[in-house]
Amino acid sequence: MIASCCRRALLGVSIGAFAALSALPANAQQITFVSQGGAYQKAQTVAILDPSAKKLGITINQDSIPDAWPAIKSQVASGKPTWDVVDVPTGYCLRGGEQGLVEKLDFSKLPNGAAMPEAYRSPYSVAYEFYSSVLAYSQKKFSAGAAPNSWADFWDVKKFPGRRALRNHPIATLEAALMADGVAPDKLYPLDVDRAFKKLEEIKPNITVWWTSGAQSAQLLNDGEVDMVMAWNGRVSALTKEGAKVAFTYNQGILQSTSLCILKDAPNLATAVRFLNEAVDPVHQANLPLHIDYGPANPKAFDTGVIKPERVAQLPSAPENARKQALMSYAWWSSPAGEAAEKRWVGFMQK
């Protein structure tokens, strides 16, 4: 916490100085873009941000923060936000929209966004990239023919004995529980929260670790601390590249996205809208999976020919893979029922 706050403060200072310097040439258009840092932000800088800046002739200042929500809230509350566009879990954009923290989008100015499937956008946001919460397992423990392939398998401790880990968070975990209980991936919403928690009680004694960070989930599998885990696809494939004996299935994966949204009264609102449209341009979007294991949010990216067929097969949002998965409803999670389910989680963990 301390480290991240100070790094952020430092970043803020350096960006502030940079902004002051770059403001000198008259009318140079710029925005401040905020993402989650790390390898992910580096990849999108090369794939999307730099090409967009060049094409639009604007300067994109960057900031990064692992969890932007508290900062978004305090920035907008202060009346003078310094950020323009944020790349955050879609739920934050929706909740932010409801609470007046995020600008309502005019899709007539966002042709690229308007062309995307309706499920991928909201009045406040446009999906930016996809990842998936998948069932991953150790190949040392389970051979290819006898590997778990569904959440029902994950719950089946007799047929698939082994140690398990789930995320210490209700999002995607409740979905997995319901699918384990026989709910079809496209019939999940509105979630039957009671049923999901009941199913989770069932597996709880067999969960060794409830992980809190993506890095931790991968580490647990790699170290042999657990044999089976719900993890983000990118984390697992990173392990595979390092030669770890692990694998995952997209079957019944929970397809999740981060979205772009614009802070209320953003300092560079017009430029931010132009950028947002550019960021979901099919070609820029197709560039992203060339640098990191996340899928483009704009399905047209798959028609550009930029992504090779064997690469397409690995991506969570590729049509073939998306069909096997459940698409997360952020609208449900940011509804009162969703928030109540989130609050119920701590009590469930303590029992």
């Binding site: 508290p70 140690r163 670790v209 992980w211 809190t212 601390e225 989130e342 303590q350």
Partner: protein, 289 residues
């Protein structure tokens, strides 16, 4: 009634007092800025949100997740304090009776962990304690166990790592107290026919008690606020108060609720101190002369 000389001395005393007050002003200002104001702001946050409200406290009172976390936090802190005392006392004792050169070595070893980050140490414990970790592997190799012991991702792992981080806070006050115990007293005891055990029990141990209390208080209070170690080594089940604070800010974006937890913790610790001070003079513990 009073003589002119006495009047003069009273005047002199008053002037001195005023001078002292002026000299203390900068220090008081710092305390006001760094201690009183933030805590006051915290308390204010917890009761004010678009008007005065006790909602945040009502929630702590009525939802049992808070009770459970408070209970667990105090339980873990007590365990850590107890083990820190059991481990720290012999270390401090050894340092206090060892020749100066050895004492420095012992204390350096105690303080050394301060130079590495808490986060790194938590991960190091993970590497040591997990299923495929060093300890389980060794035990397996020597045939002590067949199945790896669950040493981490539970309360045990949390206590071990927290203990490691807080041990210096026990050893240093203990050492400081022990060093001040005059060795003549033990010699006097011995000259009256008491063996080493008896002199320890009757003379050394009672005289080292202020150090025991100082160290225990320090460790206990610090353990109450621990965040990283239960988060990383608790396996998700060890939900301490600090984690509820962070959840309230991150998940529910309620600074008021988080502040209220802080205030309750502060009051609880204050109450414990008050209770303890009725039996033990705390000024001797906190400000040794």
């Amino acid at each position: 009634m009073s003589s002119p000389v006495q009047d003069l001395s009273v005047l002199h005393q008053r002037r001195e007092q005023r001078l002292m007050l002026v000299l203390a002003l900068p220090a008081l200002l710092v305390i006001l800025l760094l201690v009183v104001l933030p805590v006051g702001w915290l308390a204010w946050q917890s009761v004010y949100h678009n008007g005065f409200t006790l909602e945040n406290y009502r929630r702590i009172w009525s939802e049992d997740i808070y009770w459970r976390s408070f209970a667990l936090t105090f339980q873990i802190s007590l365990l850590v304090t107890l083990f820190a005392l059991l481990l720290g006392y012999p270390i401090a004792y050894a340092a206090s009776i060892a020749p100066r050169r050895w004492a420095i070595v012992i204390l350096a070893l105690v303080v050394l962990p301060f130079w590495t980050s808490v986060l790194v140490r938590a991960y190091a414990w993970l590497a040591l304690l997990q299923r495929t970790g060093v300890i389980n592997q060794l035990l397996r190799q020597f045939g002590v166990i067949d199945e790896p012991l669950p040493l981490v991702h539970n309360t045990f792992g949390t206590v071990v790592a927290t203990l490691h981080i807080l041990l210096p806070f026990m050893v240093l006050p203990l050492y400081a107290t022990m060093q001040q115990i005059p060795r003549d007293l033990m010699q006097a005891g011995a000259s009256l026919g008491a063996g080493p055990m008896l002199t320890f029990w009757r003379i050394f141990l009672p005289l080292s008690l202020p150090g025991v209390l100082a160290g225990s208080t320090l460790v206990f209070v610090l353990a109450l606020g621990f965040y990283i170690t239960p988060e990383l080594l608790g396996g998700g089940r060890t939900i301490m108060i600090s984690m509820l604070v962070s959840r309230n800010v991150e998940l529910y974006d309620q600074w008021g609720a988080a502040s209220a937890i802080g205030v309750v913790l502060l009051v609880a610790v204050g109450a414990i101190f008050f209770a303890v001070s009725r039996f033990i003079p705390l000024d001797r513990v906190l400000g040794q002369k």
